[in-house]
Symmetry: C2
Protein backbone atom coordinates (compact mmCIF):
# COMPACT_ATOMS: atom_id res chain seq x y z
CA UNK A 1 0.00 0.00 0.00
CA UNK A 2 1.23 3.47 -0.84
CA UNK A 3 0.01 6.78 0.42
CA UNK A 4 -0.19 10.20 -1.15
CA UNK A 5 0.21 13.11 1.22
CA UNK A 6 -1.65 16.34 0.49
CA UNK A 7 -0.81 19.42 2.56
CA UNK A 8 -3.16 22.38 2.58
CA UNK A 9 -2.43 25.69 4.33
CA UNK A 10 -4.44 28.87 4.72
CA UNK A 11 -3.28 31.50 2.22
CA UNK A 12 -0.75 33.91 3.78
CA UNK A 13 -3.15 36.86 3.52
CA UNK A 14 -5.99 34.96 5.19
CA UNK A 15 -6.47 35.30 8.95
CA UNK A 16 -5.83 32.00 10.72
CA UNK A 17 -7.62 32.13 14.08
CA UNK A 18 -6.42 28.67 15.17
CA UNK A 19 -2.80 29.55 14.48
CA UNK A 20 -3.24 32.90 16.25
CA UNK A 21 -4.70 31.16 19.29
CA UNK A 22 -1.73 28.78 19.45
CA UNK A 23 0.91 31.51 19.08
CA UNK A 24 -0.76 33.43 21.93
CA UNK A 25 -1.01 30.36 24.14
CA UNK A 26 2.59 29.14 23.75
CA UNK A 27 4.23 31.84 25.94
CA UNK A 28 1.95 30.78 28.80
CA UNK A 29 3.63 27.37 28.50
CA UNK A 30 7.09 28.95 28.54
CA UNK A 31 7.61 28.67 24.78
CA UNK A 32 8.69 32.00 23.33
CA UNK A 33 10.84 31.07 20.31
CA UNK A 34 8.05 30.99 17.72
CA UNK A 35 7.00 34.29 16.21
CA UNK A 36 4.05 32.89 14.30
CA UNK A 37 2.00 29.75 13.89
CA UNK A 38 -0.22 28.73 10.97
CA UNK A 39 -2.50 25.73 11.13
CA UNK A 40 -3.47 23.79 8.03
CA UNK A 41 -4.48 20.29 7.08
CA UNK A 42 -2.67 17.14 6.08
CA UNK A 43 -4.49 14.42 4.16
CA UNK A 44 -3.19 10.92 3.56
CA UNK A 45 -4.79 9.20 0.56
CA UNK A 46 -4.33 5.43 0.53
CA UNK A 47 -3.72 3.68 -2.77
CA UNK A 48 -3.89 -0.10 -3.23
CA UNK A 49 -0.89 -0.96 -5.35
CA UNK A 50 1.46 1.38 -7.09
CA UNK A 51 1.00 5.13 -7.46
CA UNK A 52 1.00 5.77 -11.20
CA UNK A 53 1.38 9.20 -12.78
CA UNK A 54 -2.34 9.08 -13.52
CA UNK A 55 -3.24 8.43 -9.89
CA UNK A 56 -0.91 11.23 -8.77
CA UNK A 57 -2.59 13.58 -11.27
CA UNK A 58 -5.98 12.53 -9.88
CA UNK A 59 -4.70 13.30 -6.38
CA UNK A 60 -3.47 16.74 -7.45
CA UNK A 61 -6.84 17.54 -8.99
CA UNK A 62 -8.74 16.26 -5.94
CA UNK A 63 -6.42 18.34 -3.73
CA UNK A 64 -7.16 21.51 -5.67
CA UNK A 65 -10.89 20.97 -6.13
CA UNK A 66 -12.14 18.87 -3.22
CA UNK A 67 -9.62 18.82 -0.36
CA UNK A 68 -8.96 22.56 -0.33
CA UNK A 69 -10.94 25.74 -0.73
CA UNK A 70 -9.00 27.68 -3.38
CA UNK A 71 -10.44 30.98 -2.18
CA UNK A 72 -8.74 30.76 1.20
CA UNK A 73 -6.29 27.85 1.02
CA UNK A 74 -3.21 26.78 -0.96
CA UNK A 75 -2.20 23.20 -1.71
CA UNK A 76 1.46 23.36 -0.64
CA UNK A 77 2.45 19.74 -1.22
CA UNK A 78 1.27 16.60 -3.02
CA UNK A 79 3.77 13.76 -2.69
CA UNK A 80 4.03 9.99 -2.38
CA UNK A 81 5.01 8.04 0.74
CA UNK A 82 5.88 4.43 0.03
CA UNK A 83 6.34 3.06 3.51
CA UNK A 84 3.58 1.01 5.08
CA UNK A 85 3.69 2.16 8.71
CA UNK A 86 0.83 4.26 10.10
CA UNK B 1 12.89 33.49 8.53
CA UNK B 2 12.70 29.73 8.85
CA UNK B 3 9.75 27.54 9.52
CA UNK B 4 9.34 24.28 11.35
CA UNK B 5 6.64 21.97 10.04
CA UNK B 6 4.79 19.73 12.49
CA UNK B 7 2.50 17.04 11.08
CA UNK B 8 -0.06 15.39 13.33
CA UNK B 9 -2.28 12.49 12.28
CA UNK B 10 -5.01 10.54 14.08
CA UNK B 11 -3.65 7.23 15.39
CA UNK B 12 -4.37 4.33 13.00
CA UNK B 13 -6.76 2.67 15.46
CA UNK B 14 -8.74 5.87 16.01
CA UNK B 15 -11.85 6.49 13.95
CA UNK B 16 -11.41 9.48 11.66
CA UNK B 17 -14.87 10.75 10.71
CA UNK B 18 -13.53 13.54 8.48
CA UNK B 19 -11.40 11.11 6.48
CA UNK B 20 -14.31 8.67 6.27
CA UNK B 21 -16.59 11.41 4.95
CA UNK B 22 -14.06 12.32 2.26
CA UNK B 23 -13.46 8.74 1.12
CA UNK B 24 -17.22 8.27 0.80
CA UNK B 25 -17.69 11.53 -1.09
CA UNK B 26 -14.89 11.05 -3.66
CA UNK B 27 -16.69 8.39 -5.78
CA UNK B 28 -19.58 10.85 -6.26
CA UNK B 29 -17.00 13.10 -7.93
CA UNK B 30 -15.76 10.26 -10.12
CA UNK B 31 -12.65 9.58 -8.03
CA UNK B 32 -12.40 5.88 -7.21
CA UNK B 33 -8.64 5.24 -6.91
CA UNK B 34 -8.28 5.97 -3.20
CA UNK B 35 -9.17 3.17 -0.79
CA UNK B 36 -8.83 5.28 2.33
CA UNK B 37 -8.37 8.86 3.48
CA UNK B 38 -7.11 10.12 6.82
CA UNK B 39 -7.22 13.78 7.78
CA UNK B 40 -4.74 15.29 10.17
CA UNK B 41 -3.16 18.66 10.88
CA UNK B 42 -0.14 20.52 9.63
CA UNK B 43 1.37 23.32 11.70
CA UNK B 44 3.97 25.79 10.50
CA UNK B 45 5.96 27.40 13.32
CA UNK B 46 7.80 30.55 12.30
CA UNK B 47 11.24 31.20 13.74
CA UNK B 48 13.06 34.54 13.44
CA UNK B 49 16.61 33.66 12.52
CA UNK B 50 18.21 30.26 12.43
CA UNK B 51 16.65 27.05 13.74
CA UNK B 52 19.06 25.76 16.36
CA UNK B 53 18.99 22.24 17.80
CA UNK B 54 17.51 23.76 20.94
CA UNK B 55 14.67 25.40 19.04
CA UNK B 56 14.00 22.17 17.16
CA UNK B 57 13.87 20.30 20.48
CA UNK B 58 11.42 22.91 21.78
CA UNK B 59 9.29 22.38 18.68
CA UNK B 60 9.31 18.61 19.18
CA UNK B 61 8.23 19.00 22.77
CA UNK B 62 5.50 21.51 21.85
CA UNK B 63 4.34 19.13 19.11
CA UNK B 64 4.00 16.24 21.56
CA UNK B 65 2.48 18.17 24.42
CA UNK B 66 0.57 21.12 22.98
CA UNK B 67 -0.07 20.66 19.26
CA UNK B 68 -1.28 17.07 19.48
CA UNK B 69 -3.40 14.98 21.78
CA UNK B 70 -1.20 11.94 22.53
CA UNK B 71 -4.25 9.84 23.39
CA UNK B 72 -5.65 9.96 19.87
CA UNK B 73 -2.94 11.51 17.68
CA UNK B 74 0.64 10.81 16.56
CA UNK B 75 3.23 13.43 15.66
CA UNK B 76 4.42 11.98 12.35
CA UNK B 77 6.88 14.68 11.33
CA UNK B 78 8.84 17.61 12.77
CA UNK B 79 11.17 19.16 10.20
CA UNK B 80 12.65 22.47 9.11
CA UNK B 81 11.77 24.39 5.95
CA UNK B 82 14.24 27.10 5.09
CA UNK B 83 12.53 28.81 2.18
CA UNK B 84 10.75 32.09 2.76
CA UNK B 85 7.68 31.74 0.50
CA UNK B 86 4.25 31.32 2.09
Amino acid sequence: MARIVVDVMPKPEILDPQGKAIVRALPHQGVTVFSGVRQGKRFELEVDGEVTDEILATAREAAETMLSNPVIEDVVNVSVIDDVEA
